[in-house]
Structure formats: C-alpha cells, structure tokens
C-alpha cells in the first residue's frame, strides 16, 4: 500500500486547486490511476483485472485516499469499481467481455443511475419506466445526481418493468451506452464539495435498449441494487478512512509543533482529547470495515455490517474534519491548508449511498426491531 500512497502523492496532488475551483474532471490523473491498475483491482485477470479480493481493494482505496487530496477523483475511481462489480456478478459472459476490460483500463467511464428527482433514499419509488415493445426495451425517465454521469460511457440504469409487482420483481437493470438513441447526459452540477467529481442528470427519452443489455434478469433490479449497496458501503467508507488517517496525522503533527502559552497544544487535554477521538474512530472504523470486507470475500451477506460501517465511518469523517479545523485554528479555516476542502468534501458522505437516517432504519430492521 506504500506504493499507492507514494504514487498518489507524486502523481495526483498537483494542480488540485485549479481543478477544484473549476469543477474539472482530472482526466490525466484518471488515466494514471488506470495505469497503476487501481480501477482493475477486484476483477479477474481474464477481463484485464488484478484478481484482488474486496479487502485488498478496500485497503488500496484507503491508501489512495490517504495520499490523494482530490476526494472527487477517488470517489470517481470507487464508483467505477462498483459499476464493474455489478457487471462482474450479474452480467452475461458477453457483457463482461464487452465492458470489463474498458472499465479496468479506464477507457470506459461507468455510472450507476438509481436516484431520481423525486426519489432519493426511497430509491424504489422511482418513476423510470422500461416497456418492452416486443423487440427492445424503451426507457423513459430522468435520473439525477448521478456520479460520473456527465462523462459516462455506460450507465447501469434501474427502471420499472412491472408496476404490479412493486419493488421486488418489478424493477430491472439495464446497461445503457452513451450513443444509444434517446439517451442524453447533462453538464455536471456545481457542488459545495467533491467538485472534481462529475455529478449530473441522465435523461432517457424513448431510449432504445436491446435484450442484450439487460443486466441480470428481468425483475432482478432490487437484488442487484442490494448486492451493489453492500460493496458501496464498504468501498466508500474505505476512502473516508484514508482521509481520516491523513487528517489525524497532520493534526497530530501540528499539535506537537504549535506552541501556545509556552507549551505545545497537544499538552492541553481539550486538544489531545480531540486527537484521541480521531484515533478511536479510525481504529473502530477500520475494524468494522475489515470485518465487512472479509465476510464479503467469504461469500457472506453483509447488509448489517456494511450499513454499520457506512453509518459509523461517514459520521466520523465529518467529525474528524471539523475537529481537524478546530485544532488548526485560523489556519484550518484558510483554503491554503486544504482542511476546509476535506470538510466540504465530507458533507455528502452522510447523504449518498443511503443517508445516515436510512442506515439507522436499515440496521433497526436487520436487528429485528
């Protein structure tokens, strides 16, 4: 993992401010991540992958996030991997051969399209319709806030194929390519954080999708979604923990070099307690992350563990960012120190992939309340 940290610091941290201010996607750095084989980590060698397990992939993403200060780029990488995993687990052999090599080498950018203007955490109240016209499926609807959407070459799209069956059995999943008739991508949205990450709207206006591009089976959408969320709630917390470890290191260093009233501020309990809390959250976050990843690698279901991981780590990330600014005082508030950027980047972590409130609901159901 030292190699990934060294690579990130050397290759990915130049020119971040400019990209961040302008909201540009750092395509050259994306290509460098691809050359480093980071996008290819959990995929079999037969599809140009590295054959890494989920634990290794999570630890590698944590290292990437520790070294790379552009959280937007790191999120784009994690999203690419998540989309590839859905194709790996549910795609036909033909689909795997067609899409996975491009996902692994970065030539193809992938997005997952679930959220709609009127359905966020309540994902399955979606309105997107997919109707079989006898030969193809015709998609109509709009997806919003889609990560990698504005630059996506392919999108994994969820839509209603049988309204009567409600969520389970009534939702299906399609792989839509950017050149498909009736498919369009918006410009990226302007955001308070993760500004290099490209989020936008995907519009399906009588978009024609052939039978060959159904992912999994008709009616399997919710199951694909649940499986995908388990990976999502492992890989995003992994990148949050990388950021938390970086902030812990710089806060500790600052507190042991900054003098106040004749002694280093680390000697004041009000400061040392904050750093201790950071450390506790990192250690506990790592433990639940590794448990989730290990169980997933053993083929076990990890909805409960991954929901706890997501909830605990994303909430801890926000606290860590706030405390890091507080420890750095006025300097922490200045953009030059880049900590305030981490705070802005962290805000969405308790919203996407199921908000904290939804994670509480899920955990409550899963423990039988």
């Amino acid at each position: 993992m030292e190699e990934i940290i060294k690579f990130s610091r050397k290759e990915l941290n130049g020119g971040i401010t400019q990209d961040y201010v302008n909201g540009n996607f750092p395509i050259e750095k994306w290509k460098k991540c691809a050359s480093m084989k980071i996008l290819a980590l959990p995929f079999p060698e037969g599809y140009s992958g590295c054959n890494a397990d989920i634990l290794t992939t999570a630890v590698a993403l944590k290292a990437l996030s520790y070294g790379c200060k552009d959280a937007g780029l790191v999120h784009a990488v994690a999203t690419q991997i998540l989309c590839g995993l859905q194709i790996l687990h549910f795609g036909s052999e033909k689909q795997k051969l067609k899409y996975l090599p491009g996902i692994c080498n970065g030539d193809m950018v992938a997005a997952q399209a679930i959220t709609e203007p009127s359905s966020g955490s309540d994902a399955f109240s979606m309105q997107m319709k997919a109707i079989n016209d006898g030969e193809n499926w015709v998609l109509n609807g709009t997806k919003i806030f889609i990560t990698n959407g504005p630059i996506a070459d392919i999108a994994i799209v969820f839509g209603i194929t049988d309204k009567k069956k409600r969520t389970l059995g009534g939702i299906s999943c399609f792989i839509v390519e950017k050149d498909f008739e009736g498919f369009s991508r918006s410009k990226p949205f302007d955001k308070m954080g993760l500004r290099t990450l490209q989020n936008g709207e995907l519009v399906f206006d009588n978009c024609i999708v052939s039978e060959n591009n159904i992912l999994g089976n008709i009616g399997q959408g919710v199951i694909i979604f649940n499986e995908s969320m388990e990976y999502e709630k492992i890989l995003y917390p992994a990148i949050h923990l990388g950021t938390m470890e970086r902030l812990f290191d710089i806060s500790k260093k600052y507190s042991t070099t900054r003098l106040s009233f004749g002694q280093y501020i680390s000697k004041y309990q009000q400061i040392s307690n904050k750093i201790v809390d950071m450390k506790i959250n990192i250690e506990l976050g790592n433990l639940i992350l590794y448990k989730s990843a290990l169980c997933k690698d053993k083929g076990k279901r990890v909805n409960l563990e991954s929901s706890i991981t997501k909830l605990f780590v994303s909430e801890s990330l926000k606290k860590t960012c706030l405390e890091a600014i507080q420890i750095h005082g006025g300097y922490g508030f200045m953009t030059d120190y880049e900590i305030e950027k981490d705070l802005r980047d962290s805000i969405a972590s308790t919203i996407y992939s199921g908000s904290s409130e939804i994670q509480y609901n899920l955990i409550s159901r899963l423990i039988g309340l």
Partner: protein, 83 residues
C-alpha cells in the same frame, strides 16, 4: 415440513405489518402483494442463510425463488440437499 414451518413462522412474524389478512396460504404471492419489500428480502436472505446454514449466491437471487412460502421452501430444500 420443518423447513416450511420455520419459513412460515419467520414470514408471519417479520412481515406482520405488511400482511393484510389473518393468515396466508403457502402459495400466496409475497412479492405481488408487497409482503416482502426491498429491505425485507435482505432480512429473509439473512434468516435463510443463518437458519439453514446455506449460502445463497447472486445468480440464485431471482424473485421466482422467493415469491411464495412453498417456492422458498423448495429452494432451501434443494440447497440443503446439494450440500
């Protein structure tokens, strides 16, 4: 029969609030009626894997395997017998 009744008991207690009638038959469609929702399927899978020591893989996660108590029973029995 034991598998069937274990599954039935779980569904009747776990999804009680989604069941509109006093009792349901073993062929009652749990999906069409909305008894098992998107979160419910996770609880059901967790329960089946723990109770019967089986592992359910991604390609088996078809709505057809989970639509009724009888279908779930026969799916689980096949898994147990193939161990």
């Amino acid at each position: 029969m034991e598998v069937n009744s274990t599954i039935r008991n779980f569904i009747m207690s776990e999804f009680k609030s989604n069941i509109q009638t006093e009792d349901i038959s073993n062929d009652y469609s749990l999906i069409d009626s909305g008894v098992i929702d998107s979160v419910g399927i996770i609880s059901l899978l967790n329960f089946l894997e723990k109770s019967f020591s089986v592992i359910i893989s991604s390609d088996e996660l078809m709505p057809e395997n989970f639509d009724t108590i009888n279908l779930i029973t026969s799916f689980v029995e096949k898994k147990i017998n193939s161990k």
